[in-house]
Symmetry: C2
Subunit: 380 residues, 2 copies
Amino acid sequence: MNLTSGHRFRVTYELRGTASSVEEQARLLAVEQTIEFPPAFVDDVRILAEVVGQIETIRQVEGRVFHVVVGYAEETASGEFTQFLNVLFGNISLQEGIRIVGLDLSDVAVPWWKGPRFGVEGLRRRVGVPHRAMLCTAVKPMGLSAEAMGELAGQFALGGVDFVKDDHGLANQTFAPYRERWLRCLDGIHRANARTGRSCGFVANVTAPRHELEARAMLAKELGAAAVMVAPGIVGLDVLGHLSGLPGLDLPVVSHPAMLGALSSNPTHGIAHDVLFGTLNRLAGADAAIFPSFGGRFSPTKEICGSVAGACRSPGPLRACLPAPGGGIRIEQVREAVRFYGRDVVLLIGGDLHSGSAGIPQTCAAVVERLEDEYSGREN
Amino acid sequence: MNLTSGHRFRVTYELRGTASSVEEQARLLAVEQTIEFPPAFVDDVRILAEVVGQIETIRQVEGRVFHVVVGYAEETASGEFTQFLNVLFGNISLQEGIRIVGLDLSDVAVPWWKGPRFGVEGLRRRVGVPHRAMLCTAVKPMGLSAEAMGELAGQFALGGVDFVKDDHGLANQTFAPYRERWLRCLDGIHRANARTGRSCGFVANVTAPRHELEARAMLAKELGAAAVMVAPGIVGLDVLGHLSGLPGLDLPVVSHPAMLGALSSNPTHGIAHDVLFGTLNRLAGADAAIFPSFGGRFSPTKEICGSVAGACRSPGPLRACLPAPGGGIRIEQVREAVRFYGRDVVLLIGGDLHSGSAGIPQTCAAVVERLEDEYSGREN
């Protein structure tokens, strides 16, 4: 009798070395991520043939760089996103020179992922923007009072910003405790919406200690937030699907990349940007995925950014996840960014919306106008 | 009126460059981790003087390597471990060449950490081993039935192993679902304890999806586990203190390093081994911290391993966290390991306990005898 169904998920690891050293490393890796035990001591041959990860292909990409596809019996992940992550990269995270560059789940029979609940269309409906690229900004800096943040949120909304979010470092600081901050921000936004006729939405950061996170998300819902944001690098990727399915919450979930850079930033170890910020965020249940864009304070290339957006929106059985590039994008880069990412995107622009001499609402309005022009093809 | 109390926590970042490039990088870092906003646009000078991280010292360690101490107002962490982690390394994880090598919390007035609830003495009491180094092993390989795992657990306990734990990849696989596995393992251990008069304890892996983790921990308690284990790299460091304080659980919490290697394995980025596996595990609430040891399948030096053990047990207001080095330690290395780590340690030995021709109980008994000899100073 077989131990497993034969269905496998396949992970592509990038390894470095010679053909023979890579083969040996791959063999050790496939054992480490499954049975973590000397194969010579295993009595049941089915464990070796079915439970241990199987090296399916080894391909030399260039020089010392190889791509190794390891197939894991889907039963090793036990239908749980947490254990799935552990099989992908748990113990081998402690080694060096191993990078996940691909993930193929097409053969899995019992999915352990949830995928976006709302997706791009759901987010568009929330803010009444059916076609063009969207604009998101954050209330900051930390240290402002809740009242000042509410004022600021209202100015963004007056300018036509689609989403105003908590800066990801806003938690429950004495300067602006979350309840008061959310009340003020939502009030500012609702007043502005009443004037503009738009539907600017507020995104509440609910990254919080484990015993408070759900309650904070439910409060955000109760007060009128349009979405919740959480940093899975701090509280676990599994939180995305958890929030997405939390009874009564019924809000889109935005993933913030804080701490996730530990996995992505070393080019020869960890998890490639597209797999991490795109594929895994989307599988886990993020409706939108914030990631560092080219042209800002972080260092990814255009090619990397394109791959992330591609993984967020690639055709398939799951709803698309809205790519949300950010991290220092400037107003002068908006046109280039929209042309690069396409219209199914939400651009995160923070500090630069404060830079205009005309005032925040006017600066925001000019950016939104640019997004509309880009969609309609108007010259500007 | 000041925005903050003036109490700060201090983080030492290792940066690389020239004196002037490092100073510039440090300045940007201190902004990124707090206000994440162009200082030029900040109206309130108190935000610049109090909320933005303050560069306290920059010291050239050697050549292009500098240690920069940044002091953060304790209010930036808002009394929450999750936001504390975000201030330490959230957004800068997305950059390169920044490594946390020190953490000083001596000036913080309102602690956001919990620290170990049981600590070394608490763990010793659980298994009735007051003085010598302890021995822990894992039931594996994945793919064994719950019955076979129970049998194995009993053999370890017969041999005098102090803790038998779930292998960290054992979740809820069809081969051995957690409830059945725990029942069998605990049964095997209790029968053995009845014969030996010892108090071998079972450590249940409760790394699980968010909506099930607490229930799984409570079940482990109900069935008689001596401790629970969780991988904070997968579900967040905050889970350690959460489990430690979970009403009615009342069990020591063991931290497993799966996925945490993303933070530690790049020598020029992330968080140093001692800060991550020692200081942060301990602050978060781990009673024992598993980490990769020298001499096994992973690559840390003795110096690194010593620093981790040191951070786990350094004198201070918190209970010590039991260092639990593992990852391929062999029986022939036990003496060296104990002499290196000292007696307040639990050695994790997995596969090698299966290597003896005399059988598992006899092999384990020989290792435990060696630990006793090392403590009593007997020649052997």
